[in-house]
Symmetry: C2
């Protein structure tokens, strides 16, 4: 039987070349998370459906991959109608693949609350799965890199996350803008006009201001059912310009009578005050159109965009006060952001920002001239490996041309030839595959020569 092999729709293999790029991203992110005192955890790929369902809205529930119960999964199922697939799925599936890392993290915190030192600073880098329609840049399996603090209300956590974002993208050489907003400000706006249900329409309209102008935005708001009085009250918000502090000053005046609105303004002022003490590489901008689904967040909302590639957000998150409550642990506030490794990969590829040295292959290949020479080479190689120089012996005694072709395709820089003559004289032929130069090097000198070369490349 011969099958035509392929990966399932929306999933991908990663070649060594792609892995080098991905590991560069993961390593950079992890390094910064660790510098700021976050510790790694991992949770299982599968969660009980009872843990996952009802956390992502109706649409989210539909996109969860369900796992068929093992054994005779129809045992206990009395009757089946071919028209009731949704009902049946819950009879025959108890588990699903995780949809994000936030809900499993909340479950983890509640389940392990007695062993955790709060505030708990954790990071988690694992794949998630969504039965979304696959399209360019959207996959059914993709990695999330989450960093959260749970158990502290301090806005210093928000400040720290913004510094982490700045630190990571600056190390990756990606120019970004970090947009922040506050759920309390959005709630304040809806209080202001007495129409809490219109808050989405308002943010959508504000978002179009630059494109279509003030008058058309007002027309749109009226068509959505807002009164002229409401629009008059919103006018200063819609026309909000200036620096973050200027915007916040105007909002403070608008929110004279909205306690929650003022709370949002105060929080943002405190955050910007803290941030002014540090020289960040990227701009941080108060953006009232930022909502990110609304229902989830209870305080600050954060979203990061690449300034050079139009690809949606490369990082996002915010504060959530109620997440562990659904699992029986109320009153624990958390705040965190998630980095999208796949989009960051696309930005780095598009802008050709991957450093050359990460694609480095094996340091040295030894040519195979037969059994006796192989043993000699392997002994020389053992010594190189002790000093961290990676090397391989071509496994077969093939023609020299074929062996050099292999080294060249794998982009191996150095090739060592230790044939009969070299073994007698103790002088090895060292070929630089980049320049084509070849020289005789005493076996004792080989290590130093390669070590110096390795160092100068980082």
């Amino acid at each position: 039987m011969s099958l035509k092999p392929s990966t399932p729709k929306g999933t991908r293999d990663f070649s060594p070349h792609e892995m080098a790029g991905r590991n560069y991203i993961f390593d950079t992110i992890k390094q910064v998370f660790k510098l700021y005192g976050y510790m790694p955890i991992e949770t299982p790929a599968m969660e009980n459906l009872s843990t996952l369902l009802g956390k992502y809205g109706e649409e989210g529930d539909r996109l969860i991959f369900k796992i068929l119960n093992s054994g005779n999964f129809l045992e206990g199922v009395k009757e089946i109608s071919v028209n009731e697939s949704n009902k049946l799925s819950f009879d025959i599936c108890e588990k699903g693949l995780r949809y994000d890392l936030t809900v499993p993290f909340a479950r983890f915190v509640v389940q392990n609350q007695n062993d955790i030192t709060f505030p708990f600073k954790r990071y988690q880098i694992q794949p998630v799965w969504r039965a979304d329609k696959p399209q360019k840049g959207r996959y059914r399996e993709f990695y999330q890199c989450d960093v959260d603090v749970i158990g502290s209300n301090s806005l210093l956590n928000e400040v720290e996350l913004i510094k982490i974002i700045d630190n990571i993208f600056s190390l990756l050489n990606i120019r970004t803008i970090t947009k922040i907003n506050n759920r309390n400000i959005l709630t304040g706006l809806s209080e202001l006009i007495g129409m809490p249900e219109k808050i989405t329409d308002i943010t959508v309209a504000i978002d179009k201001l630059e494109k279509i102008g003030f008058d058309k935005v007002c027309q749109e708001l009226i068509s959505k059912g807002l009164s002229q009085t409401a629009i008059d009250m919103l006018e200063p918000v819609l026309k909000l310009t200036g620096s973050n502090h200027e915007k916040l000053n105007i909002l403070r005046k608008i929110f004279k009578t909205s306690e929650i609105g003022l709370k949002g303004v105060d929080e943002m002022v405190e955050i910007f005050d803290y941030l002014s003490a540090f020289s960040l590489k990227s701009d941080i901008e108060l953006d009232l159109t930022l909502a990110r689904g609304l229902s989830y967040y209870t305080g600050v909302i954060i979203e990061v965009k690449s300034m050079d590639v139009a690809i949606g957000s490369v990082c996002g998150g915010g504060r959530y006060d109620n997440l562990t409550g659904i699992f029986g642990l109320p009153g624990v506030s958390g705040v965190g952001v998630s980095f999208g490794a796949d989009r960051i990969f696309d930005v780095l590829s598009t802008l050709k920002l991957f450093p050359e040295e990460i694609q480095a292959s094996v340091d040295v290949m030894f040519v195979n001239f037969g059994k006796k020479e192989a043993v000699y080479s392997l002994q020389v190689m053992d010594n190189l490996k002790r000093f961290g120089i990676s090397c391989e012996l071509y496994p077969d005694n093939s023609k020299l041309k074929k062996q050099l072709g292999y080294a060249s395709q794998k982009k191996i820089k150095w090739v060592v030839m230790a044939g009969e003559e070299e073994i007698i004289t103790g002088l090895l032929s060292l070929k630089n595959m980049h320049t084509g130069e070849q020289e005789l090097v005493h076996s004792n000198e080989l290590l130093n020569k390669l070590k110096i070369n390795k160092k100068s490349h980082g």
Copy 2:
């Protein structure tokens, strides 16, 4: 709604403490794989069921987790009987979770054959899933660490894998014995007695020799249907002792007429000859009882056991000539081994062999004395981070005792206190949480003091 949260049966969360141990194992393994010139790949968690089924035997097929098709999965299903769960599962599931890394790797090689430089040396470290009955040390989600060469018949690959095994376990300080056998020797034995179907019974019987003695083993073989003539021919095999070379010399005599048996002996002699040129830390032993499922391997079979913890094998593998054939790429030989991270973790835990420094937490915690002091501390911390020293500011202005308790629970060694007075004088209070000692350090000296301390532990 309040749920009692838990992970699905047979799956686990990993805390920061456990992650430190696991990453120590993964990092050690990866480091050696890289030194020997192997490159990482990754494949999706899901594979098409057509890729997975029929590769692991009937029992294996049963243990594959199937994923319910998304959307209306009953569409097109005409009739359902509650007694036909197995048949229905293939109508409603197209995908499954990978069961090991070998079959996905074979699929990868065939699918990407035009982009791969052969011989292809790859490693892959990812979780696999099996719907096995969970029990102590057996999980439904566990990691495999596979290293394979594909596209080379040279026995130097087997030699390299044995060196890699020796290298990894010696770095981990685990005393192991590596047992090797050869499928051709086993086939030779069954040719010898003219009963190929009895080979499993023979290996099982040989395995009991030390425990129950020669006579009882013979009784058992007769009860399994072997003739006295067959047992007479096997007697020298059953009584095989001595060094690997002595054993192979006896086998060579026994196999006078078995071409395939002699091939097996020749291969083992060549491998042991190569190995004699290197000083390995662990013993390598020819073990005729080693079979590992038989049907899978076509040449050398390898299995590694811990000498100090009875836990089954911690690594195993062998040569397979036909794996890519089922996907339409015949004639490509591969050889590889898989390291069991979970069992290695258990061995290291049992023997208390995890190095202390891997549990290191954040390097420094700064006490939070309020907003002004926080900004000052954050600026000092930014400078420390630039030099790779990880630090965190306690996020809330809580009582000193609570903050120090947090540092102590997280096993943070250094605590810095920068209060109002310290800011004025420029002298920071540095407390060593291990010794309780406290001293005043000028902010310019702090970096050097912590750097020296970090180096001496790293």
